[in-house]
């Protein structure tokens, strides 16, 4: 069952083309990882898929409906969006931040209804945050912060998850942990579109890899098919060795 379909999306800002003629599909039960160097247009593509940026041509549809026309609450309930992690404006309590995942269901912090509270508690459990639930978010480590935001997006219980570099600046153990959480979400029937910079981890976790370069999608398929030495070298401009799903980067070309 395909949920999100983007067809021929082109996004321009002023005179610069950020995304050119990009098409992709995201269904439940798949973990699609979007790869590409900085400035390849990955974030712009995510925003256009979500309907947060209006594409200059093409369109993204969710179950047949154009995502640009979704109202913000509907959009949030069907696609949970985890943008690049930014600092919170206030030192909020962890549980309150997770509860913001219920915003699109009408929940107000501080007086969660029974169902909302139960879902928030479960998300906190799932992301192993129970012991931190009453801490202020500004006292958390980088890894704990990302777990908090993961719990927040899981609490939305949206069928799709779109995450932008969720594991940037995390230690290896936490990188695995966060990706395990996301693949757990996918095993439970969710669909995830995730931007990563670690090709090796991407190959290990993804059901499909989408490669982007200069605003264009240059390849889309299972890691076994699209992960080649040549592709890494052209997309990232580094020399690499590929052995099955193992990747070794040797340095700039």
């Amino acid at each position: 069952m395909t949920e999100l379909v983007a067809e021929h999306l082109t996004v321009t800002a002023k005179d610069t083309v950020l995304v050119a003629d990009a098409s992709l599909r995201l269904a439940r039960g798949e973990l699609v990882i979007l790869l590409g160097p900085n400035g390849a247009g990955k974030t712009s593509l995510l925003r256009a898929c979500l309907g947060l940026t209006r594409p200059s041509s093409g369109h993204a549809t969710l179950a047949g409906e154009d995502t640009v026309r979704l109202n913000p609450m509907q959009r949030a309930r069907s696609m949970a969006y985890l943008p690049q992690i930014r600092q919170l404006a206030w030192p909020n309590i962890v549980r309150d931040v997770v509860a913001l995942g219920r915003f699109s269901h009408g929940a107000a912090l501080g007086r969660l209804r029974g169902e909302d509270a139960a879902i928030v508690d479960r998300a906190i459990q799932d992301c192993d945050l129970a012991h931190l639930a009453n801490r202020q978010a500004d006292t958390l480590s980088g890894g704990e912060l990302v777990r908090m935001h993961c719990a927040r997006v899981f609490a939305t219980q949206a069928p799709l998850l779109i995450a932008d570099e969720p594991i940037a600046a995390l230690d290896p153990r936490h990188q695995f942990r966060i990706l395990d959480l996301i693949s757990g979400f996918v095993k439970n029937g969710g669909g995830a579109l995730v931007v990563l910079h670690d090709i090796g981890l991407a190959a290990r976790y993804a059901s499909r890899l989408i490669w982007m370069q200069n605003g264009r999608i240059v390849a889309d398929g299972p890691p076994a098919e699209t992960l080649t030495q040549e592709r890494i070298e052209t997309v990232y401009d580094v020399s690499a060795k590929v052995d099955g799903l193992r990747v070794e980067l040797d340095g700039p070309r």
């Binding site: 947060l52 943008p83 913001l100 915003f103």
Partner: protein, 329 residues
């Protein structure tokens, strides 16, 4: 739980302060006589003192404080900065400039509603300008600087009006607007501004949930389902109405809108939405107490409430600013 007792506690303290404001004054009145006067008994002169002088004045102080506390807390939530406030951002100054202008040109004589409308118009222009700037810059420092610019401009225009003032009477009037005071307010004047004040407050309270979402930053707030554009419009409109109404009633009174939310925030888990009502109550309470102080401090001519508020508030502002870590911008 502190949070659960915060609002009821503040309501009780506010009522006590309002009652105390009726007791205290140049000639203190014992509690039994005040109570009798409030309930419609006692002799005519007591009733006059309580109903025509002390109660409206105290109520005006409370309403003005509440409007500023609420607007401050809401603007802080919207702009994600603890230093945002109608006074600091130049909203009060612009509003009192517009009000003074309407007095100076005799527009007020046309219709009593002109004054609150002018004050609200000034406040809305300033808040809208700030909201526009906030969309463009993202930097809070820039925003505060724009507020400083607005304040200075409104101050200069005010001085210009004072230079041109036709008689000392209007000069004294203008000083009142600039410095802020609730002396000699009547129930009539309160009734003239209250509809706007309540409308603004209602808008802020009805849309407060979105302020919690903004904690995440605008990108993620979009993601959790906030309609960012509407949130900006409603917060600006609500804060403009409430601040304008408060200026129409008392002139420009600064800093309560910073101090009250700052004290409240840690008690409500730093959630902007939950800080709104307690901030309003606390700011109202602070102004009632400050106004009691203004009345009983024996000075040859009465101190202005706005001056006292700034004397206490400005150092707190500096203190908050110095405590801020520079990570945010």
């Amino acid at each position: 739980m502190t949070a659960r007792w915060l609002t009821p506690g503040l309501i009780i303290l506010s009522l006590i302060a309002l009652f105390a404001a009726c007791l205290l004054g140049s000639t203190p009145m014992p509690a039994d006589r005040v109570l009798a006067a409030l309930l419609g008994g006692a002799d005519a002169s007591d009733r006059l003192v309580v109903w025509a002088i002390r109660l409206p004045r105290a109520l005006a102080a409370f309403l003005v404080g509440a409007a500023l506390g609420l607007s401050g807390a809401a603007l802080q939530g919207l702009l994600r900065n603890p230093l945002a406030e109608p006074g600091v951002l130049g909203v009060s100054a612009t509003s009192s400039l517009a009000a003074t202008f309407s007095i100076y040109y005799g527009l007020v004589a046309l219709n009593p509603w002109v004054l609150p409308m002018a004050a609200i118009f000034g406040a809305l222009v300033a808040t809208a300008l700030l909201a526009l700037a906030a969309v463009r810059t993202r930097s809070v420092v820039t925003l505060i600087l724009i507020g400083v610019g607005l304040s200075s401009f409104a101050g200069a225009a005010m001085s210009l009006l004072m230079n041109l003032a036709p008689n000392p009477f209007s000069l004294a009037d203008m000083v009142n607007w600039m410095l802020g005071s609730v002396a000699n307010r009547s129930f009539d004047e309160i009734l003239l501004t209250v509809p706007f004040l309540f409308a603004g407050s209602a808008i802020l309270l009805l849309t407060r949930r979105g302020l919690s979402a903004l904690t995440l930053g605008e990108e993620a707030a979009d993601g959790v389902g906030l309609n960012l554009r509407n949130q900006r419009i409603f917060t600006v409109l609500g804060a403009g109405l409430a601040t304008g109404a408060s200026v129409a009633l008392a002139g420009a009174i600064g800093f309560v809108g910073i101090v009250a939310p700052h004290l409240v925030r840690p008690l409500v888990g730093h959630d902007p939405a939950r800080s709104l009502i307690p901030s309003a109550l606390l700011a109202g309470l602070i102004l009632v107490i400050a106004d009691i102080g203004v009345r009983i401090i024996p000075t040859s001519s009465e101190l202005k409430l706005g001056v006292v508020a700034a004397l206490i508030g400005a150092p707190v502002f500096v203190w908050i600013a110095m405590q801020r870590r520079t990570v945010h911008d």
